[in-house]
């Protein structure tokens, strides 16, 4: 089984990297960009028997810092 984990900063947490990308896009002439948030995508190759609950536990314990980040799990 494969799982894809999206990790994003929570709303309200400053994302200076996303903000720098937004500035750069504006400077390039893309004047319709009102906000950019940058995150991470983590792909997991899982052995048979792994469950979504396992991936959730991985997110809670390591892959995301839930003080500042939220995550979404896509199973494929």
């Amino acid at each position: 089984m494969k799982a894809r984990v999206h990790v994003m900063l929570k709303n309200g947490v400053l994302d200076p990297q996303g903000e720098a990308v937004r500035h750069a896009l504006g400077a390039m002439g893309f004047d319709k960009v009102e906000g950019v948030r940058q995150g991470k995508v983590i792909d997991l190759d899982l052995a048979d028997g792994a469950t979504e609950a396992d991936v959730t536990e991985m997110c809670e314990k390591l892959l995301a810092n839930t003080v500042i980040e939220r995550y979404e799990i896509e199973l494929g």
Binding site: L14, P16, I68
Partner: protein, 222 residues
């Protein structure tokens, strides 16, 4: 008096921290991240600055899951003392020993210079060598030192007098200008600035010496 300094792959302030402890009278053991337990009789654990595990995933995240950090968490749960500096502060937040998190600096730059720190409280083993309100010069050297905590946590830190140091001029976007915080029992300090780099005449400043000296005063056998 015994101090243990944890060494992760990528730590680079471990020896400086050990020397600062030694000058304050501590016997220091260096402890490898794969060790499962702290040496017996350790009075304080130092988590040093650096780039543990290359800062992969998030600063301090992988270090926080290392075998020695399980012992560190138990040590602090027993009421043991600990200090985390720079990457060590990031590790302490990732373990949950201290609240909040350290984000990328607001201006995205790695900042390496001496900054002014206001001592917010003298009510801890770490800060009792200063007076509240003192301004001291301590170097910072970080890319991810932008302290973040939600409103509720910030109010709790302030209400319980647990902000140890704040920046006189905020260099990194930290909420509330926070540079260092204490645990609820005031026995764990996490701070981004490096007192161990201001603890010898050769460093160009000695404002950090009082921190280590105060610790040895508290932890010295009666």
């Amino acid at each position: 008096m015994r101090a243990a300094v944890i060494v992760f792959p990528g730590s680079n302030c471990d020896r400086d921290l050990a020397v600062a402890f030694e000058h304050a009278g501590f016997q220091v053991d260096m402890v490898w991240h794969k060790d499962a337990s702290l040496p017996d009789g350790v009075d304080i654990v130092g988590v040093p600055g650096g780039f543990s595990y290359g800062d992969y995933l998030r600063c301090g995240a992988i270090a926080a899951q290392s075998p020695i950090c399980k012992s560190l968490v138990e040590h602090t749960q027993r009421g043991g003392y600990a200090i985390g500096i720079c990457n060590g502060f990031q590790v302490l937040t990732e373990t949950g020993i201290l609240p909040g998190a350290l984000l990328r600096n607001a201006d995205l730059k790695y900042i390496c210079r001496t900054v002014g720190l206001k001592v917010e409280t003298s009510d801890s083993a770490f800060t009792q060598g200063y007076n509240a309100g003192d301004v001291i010069g301590i170097p910072i050297a970080h890319h991810d030192g932008n302290y973040f905590a939600d409103d509720e946590t910030l109010a709790e830190l302030k209400g319980e007098d647990r902000v140890a140091f704040s920046y006189t001029e905020n260099p990194n976007g930290s909420r509330g200008d926070i540079a260092g915080i204490l645990s609820p029992n005031r026995r764990v300090l996490g701070m981004m600035p490096h007192p161990e780099r201001a603890a010898d005449e050769g460093h160009g400043g000695t404002d950090g010496t009082a921190l280590f000296r105060a610790l040895s005063g508290v932890l010295a056998p009666a």
